[in-house]
Symmetry: C2
Subunit: 306 residues, 2 copies
């Protein structure tokens, strides 16, 4: 409850939206400072039977060093959340707090699925035709080896299938040309691995101009390029706002605040990391995503593929 620029207000409002909109039976553990959270839960009429308040005295700030903060603030909402997740008291953990602390906590408490070199984070790309593309890695791995990109392809494919409900997702390699043999050393070495990977439906190279088109479902790239693209895509919404087009049906889909968070792909339990600027809708979406990941046994499906 303590993560995000508008914590805990937006988290509580998001919880209200979630509880109003679904018939699901999930119990939501609200981890945070009871004196700050409890009055808001009452103010927004959150039914007591649907939630469980878990007091956490400490809060990890945005500018704290992740490893140091997690070590020193064991009573922080992030530390307690990971403890509850690792001991099986909760099935998924969501936070819009310190991203570094969320990642470090994930790696050290929840563990990477055996066989996976490095976990990854992905982003949604709004396609012009109304569909949705998935791009990964978007920042967890600035330098990548071909074998990692090959694994991201499987992780992205599983996510597209199980969470985005895309049948037989087309996986593409981000590149500077369509033909095999194009690209930097990484792309050139990754192409043959993807081509021979029987766990995915490889659809070849894809260029920057194709991100908004419907000739792919999943794109893999290194986390440096992916992060630049993610932030550039976010700025498309900034352009829309500047041109007073934020209500345009398509541009509105670049408003990433609405999407909620990104799951850490390749770890043994669902962890979802939200934007600092997460609003109520983002929190609602993150809870729904967590529910979907649990219901589809997503993490177990990953284990079965590595």
């Amino acid at each position: 409850m303590m993560g995000g620029d508008f914590a805990p207000l937006e988290a509580v409002k998001g919880l209200q939206l979630y509880l109003e909109s679904v018939s699901g039976t999930a119990t939501v553990f609200c981890i945070g400072r009871e004196t700050e959270v409890q009055p808001l839960l009452q103010q927004f009429n959150i039914p007591q039977e649907r939630i469980k308040m878990v007091h956490a005295e400490e809060v990890i700030g945005y500018h704290e060093h992740p490893t140091k903060a997690l070590k020193e603030k064991q009573q922080s909402s992030i530390s307690i959340g990971f403890h509850l997740l690792s001991t099986g008291k909760i099935d998924a953990f969501i936070s819009a707090g310190n991203t570094g602390a969320m990642l470090v906590g994930t790696m050290f408490t929840i563990k990477v699925v055996e066989g996976i070199l490095r976990p990854s984070i992905a982003t949604i790309i709004p396609k012009l035709n109304g569909g949705t593309g998935l791009l990964l890695d978007v920042g967890l791995n600035a330098d990548c080896k071909p074998e990692q990109l090959n694994q991201f392809a499987v992780l992205g494919s599983l996510y597209a299938k199980n969470i985005l409900n895309i049948e037989n997702p087309r996986v593409c390699l981000l590149n500077v040309g369509e033909e095999e043999g194009k690209g930097n050393i990484l792309a050139q070495a990754t192409y043959p691995l993807l081509k021979e990977n029987t766990h995915i439906n490889f659809a070849g190279n894809i260029e920057g101009r194709d991100l908004i088109k419907d000739n792919y479902d999943v794109i893999v790239c290194d986390g440096f390029t992916g992060n630049v693209i993610l932030k550039l895509a976010e700025s498309i919404y900034d352009i829309a706002v500047a041109r007073e087009l934020q209500n345009d049906k398509y541009f509105h889909r670049f408003h990433y605040e609405n999407y909620g968070g990104t799951p850490v792909l390749g770890v043994s339990k669902p962890v979802i990391i939200g934007h600092g600027i997460s609003n109520d809708k983002a929190f609602k979406n993150m809870i729904e995503l967590a529910e979907k990941m649990i219901a589809s046994n997503f993490c177990d499906k990953i284990k079965g593929n590595f």
Copy 2:
């Protein structure tokens, strides 16, 4: 005259636009098949005294292998153009033809400026405030060393100053975070070089979301990332067309067909490579850019900095 999807028509129309709009005294050498070009020159009333028709029997197609084509088609308009440029008969060479052949021709005929590891190509980024940013490399060097990025910074800075008329251009490093020490291995190793480079006004790291903002003038990155960004930026215009916003003042600036071509930076004479889809306006702009590069002694200024 034979390069571009609509050759030689758009080239002739562009020439007409140029001759109508400027008081410059440039003589434009029109290199191409006389039987195809001459009737168009007459049809569009191109004054004979402002041009010089140079017959070239052969044409290098878009899908020909650059090195092979240049070797075998010595009577092609591209081969003849490079010959005229290298022998000093013309001062700049422009073509919207086979990009590979243009690059190979540049490297082997015109030569790289001594001290420069690799030339580069740049693109214009339209900023929200009406200003213009410069991004390089956008595809000539898929894999880069820190020393190359450091040289691109100088090339971009000189271009911004002499051609875009930006005083003391702020040069930034494309990265995944603002703080020093962020990024992939390349960015981490490039930062200290840029910081110590006295030929540029280094303004630190910059992220994908800042491309449309006014906190930089020149951005350097490897040619893989730059090419992906260039093509993604081009697709912003595709979005505008799909949303029927192509006449919006800002989105219109992403219509890269209008810009003309990209100069090859770091070579000893002006070479400008156009898009295959170049229209008349693009050809006009390319001629004006060539004029500006000649008038400002741009290539000599590069020589003085390396």
